[in-house]
Symmetry: C2
Subunit: 280 residues, 2 copies
């Protein structure tokens, strides 16, 4: 057992899966869940994701050895401010947000000395949301990116890394918050924005003929608009950089198509084919 | 039996699947395959996709009631010129190319009176290529777009439509070549170009963290570069129109991200989610 009392704020897909993994493997003394609706707490209890639940974050984090904030990104700083004074000395706090520089910067300012914050981003989950999809093996073999800054305490980083591994995580990668944000802008946020724009470009008449290629390419456009809004707002800088490079790549392809440069078009498509095929 | 002698030029995935479907359902008297390598003819014979094979297109089409040109798009006009004089009067010719305006325009000029050309585009297949992946049920439940112009003869259109249906096609849609090209530019060519550009935008460092969302969005970037080069060359006009609208959609999202317009970003993502969810 790494932590005696673990408090999870936000018992949705990620928070619920953490609770389930902790409980089904006996990895924590008590798992406390904090929700913003009584019904979600009830469901988390019923599904065996938590031992106790409360709507009161301040009370729920008291005495916790580990607090995991697994709410939508934009709510994290507000929650941190709220719980800041009731965290016990030596407590480790992490989050599961998809963007890091803004959150880590803000939470490192909010928490007092003696509280050890380390940012986490589990690259698990799907376009599904909510406790109903939570599973105790959601993290099995997955990757978690943890952030390290000048303020990060090494023992907290090591302990939290052990925590994620105990949940089944296959690989822990340590990055600066900025590096993290650059990576996810390129492999997650850009594809989402591109997919949304593809769907919005095709006319209704054409959509009628969409086949598997179109559906695969745009599947992620069906994920939660609120989450994507928050991601765009909190990872603005890196998303804009990725979008600018993307626009240049599109413009280059457009130019080659316009001029009918067959051999150069081949080379572009050969390059993307070779790079795509490297991924399993 | 709709046609006594059917000649298929190009016995790859599409041509081979047509042959297999014809033969396994006894839909044609003889199925002749034309290839550009003896080995592909041999394999088509071995796999039961054709009854006879030849490398000589001029001889192979003699006496055919239906000729299906199932080669890469850029080879179609050259083949049409070559076979034009040896087609029997009343013969129906179709193709299976992914772009239509250029091919249909060119073939309608090439073929003499008495030869009935109707363009077809079976929306079946995958990123796989070659006779090795041919199946007699490839077209089962699929959609075929057939083209109609001022020169299209109604009896030929009806007969060819019956031919596709006999192969298991679920729905035949008749469009002008230009309408066809607009539709596929939006639902197939644009997604491919966008996927290639996404893959080429992500750095090697980031690609290491690509998960299922990235992989789905970019799967089609692994398809054959030569086919995509030909598509871009032969559907230039409609692809450029779709790309211009796409660039505007990307630019609008970029502007909203830059200005942090949370509620307008939500609306854009809500719109793409709703449109994507309409597709099964």
């Amino acid at each position: 057992m790494i932590f005696k009392k673990v408090t999870i704020i936000g018992v949705g897909l990620i928070g619920g899966s953490i609770g389930k993994a902790l409980k089904s493997n006996g990895l924590a003394g008590t798992v406390v869940g904090i929700g913003h609706r009584a019904s979600s707490i009830d469901e988390a209890l019923r599904r065996g994701a938590i031992d106790k639940g409360t709507l009161d974050a301040v009370k729920g984090v008291a005495g916790a050895d580990l607090v995991v904030i697994a709410t939508p990104v934009c709510l994290i700083p507000g929650i941190a401010k709220k719980i800041s004074c009731s965290l016990k000395k030596g407590c480790i706090v992490t989050d599961a947000g998809s963007t890091k520089a803004e959150i880590v910067g803000s939470l490192e300012r909010i928490f007092p000395k003696g509280v050890n914050f380390v940012g986490s981003h589990p690259l698990a989950g799907s376009e599904k949301r909510g406790i109903g999809f939570a599973q105790d093996n959601l993290f099995k073999g997955s990757v978690v990116i943890m952030t390290k800054t000048k303020k990060t305490k090494k023992p907290a980083l090591a302990k939290l890394s052990g925590f994620w591994k105990s949940l089944g995580v296959g690989r822990i990668v340590i990055k600066s918050p900025e590096e993290h944000d650059r990576i996810v802008a390129e492999i997650s946020h850009l594809p989402h924005i591109a997919a949304a724009a593809i769907v919005n470009t095709a006319s209704d008449k054409s959509l009628e003929f969409a086949s598997s290629g179109f559906k695969d390419t745009t599947r992620i456009a069906a994920s939660d608009p609120g989450i994507w809004r928050d991601i765009c707002v909190t990872n603005r800088k890196e998303i804009l950089k990725a979008l600018e490079r993307y626009e240049k790549n599109i413009a280059r392809l457009k130019k080659l198509i316009k001029s009918g440069s067959a051999s150069r078009l081949s080379r572009e498509f050969e390059r993307s084919k070779a790079r795509r095929e490297k991924l399993s």
